[in-house]
Each structure stands twice: as structure tokens, then as C-alpha cells.
């Protein structure tokens, strides 16, 4: 049965219906999230596109569950806002804009007919492109564009069945996904399709199935997606409550009964996400007993990325903060990972949002932190390339002035903080910090999580990669060698000061050795070593 037959006088988007539609899109994406995460160009452990898109949709689902009676433009606005608040990472932000563009058209419409759907896809495309300063083809942008164009010409050709329009759009989207490696060399070399684009196609599959009133069958349509059995999932209709502790962790080297593990986690938690990926499992749940869940999970593998937040206290704090007007002129919010880094930022006066590589903070995390600064002008330090788009959404959601200083690494963010002066003139402070950032060279050492070929180089699994401002400059067996190669490149460009931030798996002795070797390369260079404690990166460094 089609859900679209009757035109609705009072607007086409009652949220009670939307819940089913969004739920279907969510289920489709959830079944694919781990695969999408794995579609990562660089074999660095940051593949979280699927998770980021899923969390964005999850926020929408919760919003429509919480307010089942909204209709028309009110419903459209609620969805747009929820998507934006839940947006994490680049892909999440673009998805939120796709949803916004679609909702703007749907909210105005009187009936959910074929033409309306085609227009909604067109609106989605427009918003997606305008969210990105320099649109790149071969990404989710081109996928939504191709889907919109296919839907439009289908309708222009006289077709009027809404389900068929979505089927055509989904087909075009999958085809577009398969073309992404032709458009982007990085994808071609890595032998993958674009992760975000694939996510868009999967969401269209889910929407089509929901409109048709069918159970979703997930097509194994793309050979570039690593083969794995279908993951069964159910739509969760319950609203995410501010209940207990939001608990997240990753079980590495997972061994044991996956079904039993999943069932147990669902039993003790609400808002559960269990996302398996090769030999690891990402877990998100709300529970009154985070310790119990963590120690249970510890029996299945090595834990990392453990994050526990008191939801009730957060909600309370948010309510309290919303009631208080800004009291100071200037504040800073920094996204950061690792205990050491957090304390560095805090010691310099920043409010820290936990999150970055591998666990992007949401727009909402930033909005809450902006309120906690109590400042009339708030500077945001994303400290990660993938968090910059999220931070850029914040200005539209808060009443205070927000400025993003586009830092790409935690080390770079700390260097930018040197220019921060809480008592300074806001514009001058922002200029000063931007000027510092423009003169930085940022290096990172991480480990390849799989074998890959990048920019013509063979990268064996487990190799240490040295990235200089995001560009691969070293592939070495040892972490120290990768660090030194990186520093040699930095020194060629004439730097005076190098700060090393020691993180996951890097002991103090190794960090000191790297510092000594830098001094022996150039005795005029000032070198300092700090214990940052960030995950995934044994070493981050910043040079000026």
C-alpha cells in the first residue's frame, strides 16, 4: 500500500507519519553504517562517516518522536533543526543541509505527489551545495545532484507515481556512487567509493521502501563495498530521553558471541547503537549503570574511546545556562581529545567539548559549550578538519556572536590559544589567533589500520604514517622514524619552535628521544614535549 495516495489539506508532513519515514531511512543507514565507516580513503582510524550520518538522522528521529503532532512547516522546521543539532562531522553537516533543503520544499507542499518529491530532492541539492564553500564532485554532493536530476526528468517525462520517483532517484544515486572513483582520484587509488554519497543512496532506498509500505531489502549493489552479510536492524521509535549516563566505547579485537553481546547491551540500555566493523564494535547506549556495561564489554575485547556523560546533569546544566544571560565579553570553546589536552585548554580559559578524530562532537555539543562560556563573543576551535563544518553551523543557532578559528589539529588549537586574551578586544583577538594559525605547520603520526595505496605509495597495515597538514609525507615502520621524517620536512621550511603532544601508545622516553633528535638536527630550534593523551595519534606536533 502506498502512503501517499491521499493529499492532506493540513500539510503533508504530520510528524507521526514522518516518524515511520525517517525511521525507515535510519534503519537503512544503520544497516550500512559500519560499511560506510570502512569506506575511508586514508587508512587512518577516523572512518566515521556512517556513524556521523547515523547520529544526524538519529537526532531527527528523536525530534519527530518527541513532537508527534507537528505538521507542515512546523514539522519541516523541527526536522531541519534536529538534523543540524545532531550533525557531526562533514558528512553529518551536509546531510543536515540535504534534509533542510528537502524539508523546506515539503513543508510548503499541499500533497506528497511525485512533483513535490522531485522538488524536495532539488531543494536538498541546492542546500547541500551551498553548505560547502568549494563543492567537490565525486562526493555526496554529486550523488544528491544526480538523484535530484533523475527524479526531475522522470517527473517531467510524465510519470506521477511517488514511489517510482524515489525508486528512480535511488537508482540514479547508486549509479552516481559507483562513478565517484572516476571523479575523485583519491577514491580511485584507495579502491573505494565515496562514503557519504553511498550513505545518501542508502537513505533514498529506505525512504522508497517506507513510502511503498515495504520491508526494506538492502541491495548488495556495490562491489566496492566490502562483502558482509546483511545486518538486521529494527527501527527504534522511542525518543532519546535525558536518562542516565550517555556511554560510548569501542571494543577492539572483538571476540565472542556478537548476538549475545548485542542482546545484553540492548537489555541494559536505551538509545542503543551497536555497530560492528571488521574486528571492532562501536557501542553507544544510555544506561543507569555505565560501569556495568563497560566491564561487561571488557570481556569481549580491549576497550578504547570510553566516554561517559551524565545526561541528567547535562540537561539540568543546559536549562540553567539557557536561563542566564552572557556575563563576559569573550570566551573560547575547543574540541579536544585526551586528558592532558583538555587540561591545557582549560588552563588557558577554554570550555572543552570532548571529541575530535574518530568521535566528532555534534553541533549541539558546541551550542551547549557556547552557553557554558557565558560570553557575548565565543571563539570556536574545531581542532580537526572534520569538525570545522560542524563548528560553522553554530553561529546560526545561538544568540551570541560566534567566530570559528579553523584549527585542524589539537596541537594547532593549543598554539592558537597562545593568542587568546579574555580581556582583549574580540575582533583583535580573533585576528591574532587566525594569524597564528595561518603560520602553523601541523604534523600528525598515526598508524595505518589497513593496507592501502596512497598517492602512489604502498602503505602496509600497521605502518606509521606521518601527515603534514593532512598530506602524507612519511610511511615508516617505527613511530619515531615517522616523527623524524615529518620534522625534517617542517625544518626545511624554517621553523623556530616545535611542540610535541604525546598521545596513544607513545611513552615519555620515546617522545624525549624524538625531541633530542630534533635538537640535533637544528640546535636553534626550541622543542617542548607535552603529555596530551589524545587517542589514535601517538604524536601530534605543531611548528611555528
Amino acid at each position: 500500500m502506498s502512503r501517499t495516495a491521499e493529499g492532506r489539506e493540513d500539510g503533508v508532513l504530520p510528524t507521526s507519519e514522518l516518524k515511520v519515514v525517517v525511521g525507515a531511512a535510519y534503519a537503512a543507514l544503520k544497516a550500512r553504517a559500519a560499511k560506510i565507516d570502512a569506506l575511508n580513503v586514508y587508512p587512518v582510524p577516523d572512518g566515521d562517516t556512517g556513524t556521523n550520518m547515523l547520529l544526524t538522522l538519529r537526532s531527527v528521529m528523536e525530534a519527530v518522536s518527541a513532537s508527534p503532532d507537528l505538521r507542515g512547516e512546523d514539522a519541516a522546521r523541527a526536522v531541519s533543526r534536529a538534523a543540524l543539532m545532531g550533525a557531526r562531522g562533514n558528512s553529518g553537516v551536509i546531510l543536515s543541509q540535504i534534509l533542510r533543503g528537502a524539508c523546506e520544499k515539503l513543508g510548503e507542499a499541499r500533497s506528497l505527489d511525485a512533483r513535490t518529491l522531485a522538488e524536495a530532492l532539488g531543494g536538498a541539492k541546492e542546500r547541500a551545495y551551498s553548505a560547502v564553500r568549494e563543492p567537490v564532485e565525486g562526493t555526496m554532493l554529486s550523488v544528491v545532484k544526480d538523484a535530484a536530476a533523475a527524479a526531475q526528468s522522470f517527473v517531467d517525462g510524465g510519470k506521477s507515481d511517488p514511489v517510482e520517483v524515489l525508486r528512480e532517484a535511488a537508482r540514479a544515486a547508486h549509479e552516481s556512487v559507483r562513478r565517484t572513483p572516476e571523479l575523485l582520484r583519491a577514491l580511485r587509488e584507495a579502491g573505494v567509493v565515496d562514503a557519504g554519497g553511498y550513505g545518501v543512496a542508502v537513505i533514498l532506498d529506505g525512504l522508497r521502501a517506507a513510502l511503498a509500505g515495504e520491508e526494506l531489502e538492502i541491495e548488495e549493489s556495490d562491489e566496492a563495498v566490502p562483502n558482509e552479510g546483511l545486518l538486521k536492524s529494527t527501527v527504534e521509535h522511542s525518543a532519546e530521553e535525558a536518562w542516565g549516563y550517555c556511554t560510548e566505547f569501542v571494543v577492539n579485537g572483538f571476540s565472542g558471541d556478537a548476538d549475545e553481546f548485542g542482546a545484553w547491551i540492548h537489555e541494559v540500555g536505551k538509545s542503543v547503537l551497536v555497530i560492528p566493523d571488521e574486528d571492532l564494535v562501536k557501542v553507544h547506549l544510555h544506561t543507569q549503570d555505565p560501569g556495568g556495561a563497560i566491564s561487561y564489554a571488557g570481556g569481549f575485547g580491549r576497550l578504547s574511546g570510553v566516554k561517559v556523560e551524565d545526561m541528567e546533569a547535562q540537561t539540568k546544566a543546559r536549562v540553567e545556562h539557557e536561563a542566564t544571560a552572557p556575563t563576559v565579553d569573550l570566551g573560547v570553546v575547543a574540541a579536544s581529545r585526551g586528558a592532558g589536552n583538555r587540561s591545557f585548554f582549560e588552563s588557558m580559559g577554554a570550555v572543552v567539548v570532548e571529541g575530535g578524530q574518530g568521535a566528532n562532537p555534534s553541533t549541539e555539543d558546541f551550542v551547549g559549550a557556547v552557553a557554558r562560556t557565558g560570553a557575548r563573543t565565543v571563539i570556536l576551535l574545531p581542532n580537526n578538519k572534520n569538525v570545522i563544518p560542524t563548528a560553522e553551523q553554530v553561529a546560526g543557532l545561538v544568540d551570541v556572536e560566534v567566530r570559528v578559528v579553523p584549527t585542524r589539529t589539537i596541537a594547532g588549537g593549543l598554539a592558537a590559544m597562545v593568542g587568546y586574551d579574555a580581556e582583549g578586544e574580540p575582533e583583535e583577538v580573533v585576528d591574532e589567533m587566525c594569524e597564528i594559525v595561518s603560520g602553523l605547520r601541523c604534523g600528525e603520526v598515526t598508524q595505518a589500520v589497513r593496507e592501502a595505496r596512497i598517492e602512489g605509495r604502498e602503505v602496509p597495515e600497521g605502518a606509521y604514517l606521518g601527515l603534514l597538514d593532512g598530506e602524507l609525507v612519511a610511511v615508516e615502520e617505527g613511530v619515531e622514524d615517522a616523527a623524524i621524517r615529518l620534522v625534517e620536512r617542517m625544518l626545511e621550511e624554517g621553523v623556530d619552535v616545535v611542540t610535541l603532544l604525546r598521545g596513544y601508545g607513545m611513552d615519555e622516553g620515546s617522545a624525549r628521544k624524538v625531541a633530542e633528535r630534533i635538537r640535533s638536527l637544528d640546535e636553534a630550534v626550541e622543542v617542548e614535549v607535552k603529555d596530551g593523551g589524545q587517542p589514535l595519534y601517538p604524536l601530534q606536533m605543531v611548528a611555528e
Binding site: 588552563s347 598554539a415 597562545v418 617542548e528 607535552k530 611555528e544
Partner: protein
């Protein structure tokens, strides 16, 4: 009407100013503990002072001159009609108050002016006072010249560490630079007699560049400048090369100001 000048030992006396009969210096003192007190710029050579700073387990303390020392100085200048007193910034020391209460104890006209500066800064102000006096200016002319110079005089300086300023309590608004997680090389300035942060630079080269950026235009617009350093000979010579001028003089900063800014500090005053 003849004018004599009294100043304290934190004012740099360039060239042969020390030999002049119309200039009298009242010393401050510094101490490494209760039994080891030294007179500023008299008891220890610079090299000896910095050696002590490096090796002593104690942090030096400094003392303003006793009121009696100013009384003595004022009375010793009875060959002159009037006495003008130039003290270091009263935001950094109680010397001004000491000089002022001494003025009330002598039976002659004494006027005390806060230079809102020290070392090469108050040195430039002193030179201005002497210039007007030597050109035949009367007491009021000299005083007016000094007050104008106090308003125009400024100073930028670099410290190797903020530790000394923080421990001595002379850090002023630069307090907010303390506790920066990454190593910084602060550039400070004197504003209305107080130490204020000017820039947090990373690395010595940027620290010096920040000073050069500020001072170069001042030189080009005709200001006179003077340098000072605390065991920072190499940095100072680089700074002089960068600014392209030898300046009016180079201050060997003494133990009292040196105790506050720490070793490795250098800077430039302008007028």
C-alpha cells in the same frame, strides 16, 4: 634659579651623568635572604649578580630606600635653589612614597615626580631634564619638560620567563600570561607605570620581531631610544642590528630591576 636632580638607583645614568654635581642618586637595595643585602649597582658587578641569581637557592627581594636617605640627599644639595626628584614607577616600588615623605621633612622646596618607568626609560627622562637645565631653563621649565617626557616615554621588553615578575609581584596585568600551556616568550610594555602584556610570542625570533615591529616606526618618526639588557648580550646585539640604530645608550640593568625581570630580559625605551 638653579635646579638639582635626585633620582633613585634604578634610573640608568648614561655616560658621565654620574659625575655631575647637580645629580644625586639614592640607592635601593636587594637581598638574597636576611644576611646578604647588596646596594643596587654598587656592591655587585652585573656578572656577579647574575651568577648569584643562578646559584642562590633564595629568590632575591628588593627594598626601597629609607626616607632618611632621601632627606640626606636633599640636604646635601643646598648649593642649589630647588630639587626635582625622579623616582621609578610607584606601581612597581614604594620609592616614590619614601621620596615624598622625605620632601616634607626638609626645609626647602622639593618636588617629586613619578617617572612611571625605570632604567633606560627613566634614564631618557633624566637626560631630558638635564638638557633643559643645561640650556638655562629654570625649575618650572625643567619640571614641565620632565612631565611631558613622562607622558611620552614608553618601553617594550622581552623576558626569558615570567617567573621572576610573578614571584616579585610586579607582574601587573601580565599576570594573565602566566599558566599558558605552551612555552611562550612574552613581550611586555609599561603602561602608566604598570607592566602589561603586549604580545605572547612563540620562539625567540618572534619575540624580537614583535618588539622591532613596534619600535621601528617610532624611530622613523624621530623618537630617541635607549636599550637595556639583563645578561642578554647576544639578543641585544641582534635587536640593535634589526633596529639599525645604536640608541642613546645601553643600560646594564641593575640587581633591583634585574630581580624582577629575570635573566635574559632585554628591551628598548623610547621618548
Amino acid at each position: 634659579m638653579t635646579t638639582a636632580i635626585v633620582t633613585d638607583s634604578t634610573t640608568t645614568l648614561p655616560g658621565d651623568v654620574q659625575e655631575r654635581p647637580d645629580v644625586r642618586v639614592v640607592p635601593l637595595t636587594f637581598a638574597f635572604g636576611p644576611d646578604e643585602t647588596y646596594t643596587d649597582k654598587v656592591d655587585l658587578s652585573n656578572a656577579e649578580f647574575y651568577e648569584k641569581l643562578k646559584t642562590s637557592s633564595r629568590f632575591p627581594s628588593t627594598s626601597q630606600p629609607p626616607t632618611g636617605a632621601f632627606v640626606e640627599a636633599y640636604e646635601s644639595l643646598d648649593a642649589y635653589d630647588e630639587v626635582l626628584v625622579l623616582t621609578l614607577s610607584r606601581k612597581l616600588s614604594g620609592t616614590y612614597e619614601s621620596a615624598l615623605s622625605a620632601a616634607g621633612m626638609v626645609d626647602r622646596p622639593v618636588q617629586v615626580v613619578d617617572t612611571k618607568s625605570a632604567e633606560m626609560g627613566s634614564g631618557l627622562i633624566l637626560l631630558e631634564a638635564l638638557r633643559v637645565a643645561d640650556e638655562g631653563g629654570g625649575f618650572e621649565d625643567v619640571k614641565r619638560a620632565v612631565e611631558g617626557a613622562v607622558r611620552r616615554c614608553g618601553m617594550f621588553f622581552a623576558v626569558g620567563t615570567l617567573e621572576y615578575l610573578a614571584k616579585s609581584g610586579r607582574i601587573g596585568r601580565a599576570q594573565r600570561l602566566v599558566g599558558t600551556a605552551l612555552d611562550i616568550r612574552p613581550v611586555l610594555r609599561l603602561e602608566d607605570g604598570e607592566v602589561v602584556p603586549h604580545k605572547r610570542a612563540r620562539g625567540r625570533k618572534r619575540q624580537m620581531a614583535a618588539i622591532v615591529d613596534e619600535v621601528k616606526p617610532l624611530i622613523e618618526s624621530g623618537h630617541q631610544i635607549a636599550y637595556g639588557q639583563v645578561n642578554a648580550y647576544d639578543a641585544l646585539s641582534d635587536l640593535r642590528n634589526a633596529l639599525g640604530t645604536r640608541g642613546r645608550f645601553v643600560a646594564e640593568i641593575g640587581g633591583v630591576v634585574g630581580s624582577h625581570v629575570g635573566p635574559g630580559a632585554y628591551g628598548v625605551a623610547y621618548l
